[in-house]
């Protein structure tokens, strides 16, 4: 076997050539992406008024242009974001997060838990094993909740789409309160000493030692990013289409300031109502944002819309049913109650301040 080994050794530089290739490919892709993205608005206008011959100013033209412009725009943004997030997430694993959080004191732990909740790869179907893994290896219950609240609430796809569609102010307005709710709600839940409302068998579970971490090189991380794009964009594009179609309908047909009476600042009851309506609705962040955009354009208040969006994304009935396996009903109710209260508070606050 020795000759084979020596034959390979001159090409030790191979992985670096691979990385350079990925880098060059990435640059080309980024330039192409930008060239197309920059043309979308003109293209949509031309298609609507030129190719389809729709008269400017009509309801139909407004709706069609919105749809033709927003669909590729959101999908392109989504692809970029999911790719980036896929790479960031390859740096974090649930196992590593658990090691960071184990034995943390509350407060610091709540902050760390919420922050890690944003970047740790996590799907709601593994919420239960993750919950057990956390609480049986010394992560405090409240810190675990901070993580579990932040993970869906501060959705990185939502964050970047908000940034792309509305600018950094709205994105920051979403990120800040989302984190704050996750930190505070987790802290309160920890203070309430609710450990006895966790199903008894959970703490009796023996969690085995974590598996050995595999170390990844950059090409592998890029491949993970591409895989994430294929997986996530492949799953959510339907929601995006539906969301934009609804958004287009609102944009074209709902009269200007119509929403001001229902979802405007004057209607205080609209915030709790938005939260209540949001719970049974289970949509993807990518699908809800085009609707949010259209509602805002028609005079809905930002706080109300934000509360609606957070409620749709963070509080879902399927999640409650999954968590019921490990949490007694009272704890689930407390959990939902505190998060819902936090969301409403944010809604009222924004309506009052802005």
């Amino acid at each position: 076997m020795k000759p084979v080994v020596t034959a390979i050794s001159p090409t030790v530089g191979r992985p670096e050539v691979g990385s350079l290739g990925y880098l060059a490919g990435g640059l080309v892709a980024a330039v192409v992406w930008w060239l197309i993205y920059a043309q979308l608005a003109d293209l949509a206008r031309w298609l609507t008024h030129g190719a389809l011959g729709l008269k400017a100013g009509t309801h139909l033209a407004g709706a069609v242009e919105f749809f033709i412009y927003e669909t590729p725009k959101v999908l392109m943004l989504l692809t970029l974001v999911v790719f980036g997030v896929g790479i960031v997430r390859s740096l974090f694993t649930p196992e590593r997060t658990r090691q960071i959080l184990a034995g943390r004191r509350e407060s610091v732990g709540n902050v760390l838990g919420a922050l890690l909740g944003i970047v740790t790869p996590f799907c709601s179907c593994s919420a239960v094993p993750l919950f057990i893994g956390f609480v049986t290896t010394g992560v405090p219950l409240g810190v675990t909740f901070s993580f579990l609240i932040a993970a869906p609430m501060v959705n990185e796809v939502a964050l970047v789409l908000l940034f792309g569609l509305f600018g950094w102010k709205v994105a920051a307005l979403y990120l800040g309160p989302g984190l704050l709710i996750a930190i505070t709600a987790g802290w309160i839940l920890g203070r309430l000493r609710l450990e006895r409302h966790v199903e008894d068998w959970v703490y009796a579970t023996k969690t085995g030692p974590a598996m050995a971490e595999e170390t990844l090189d950059w090409p592998a991380r890029v491949r993970l990013g591409i895989e994430a794009v294929r997986d996530i964009v492949g799953r959510v594009w339907v929601y995006v289409f539906l969301g934009i179609a609804v958004g287009a309908g609102i944009h074209g047909y709902v009269p200007e300031n119509f929403m001001a009476s229902i979802m405007g600042k004057g209607a205080w009851w609209s915030v709790p109502l938005a939260v209540v309506i949001g719970v049974p609705m289970y949509s993807n962040a990518a699908g809800i944002i085009p609707i949010v955009q259209a509602l805002l354009g028609k005079g809905a208040a930002l706080g109300t819309v934000l509360a609606f969006m957070m409620s749709v994304i963070a509080l879902s009935l399927p999640e409650a049913i999954i968590l019921r396996k490990v949490l007694k009903p009272r704890l689930i109710a407390t959990f939902f109650g505190i998060v819902a209260a936090g969301i409403m508070l944010v809604g009222f606050l924004f309506n009052a301040v802005l």
Binding site: T93, P129, G133, T207, G208
Partner: protein, 77 residues
Amino acid sequence: MKKIQILGTGCAKCQKLAAVAEDAAKALGLSYELEKVTDLNRIMGFGVMSTPALVVDGTVKVAGKVPTLDDTKKLLC
């Protein structure tokens, strides 16, 4: 005889992983035994926090994602 275990509580990805593992084992012509582990206590016993996970002869090979067919073949060897 390879012992292949799929850890997961029955979500869509778990079914996908079981199918990929079965395809890979067949493609390799392995003699194998496939078991779906859905009991949470046993899943936690492997130290796995993100499902689905693939366990071959008692060692956790992949957790939290569905590997490609080619990768699965390598993991089964």
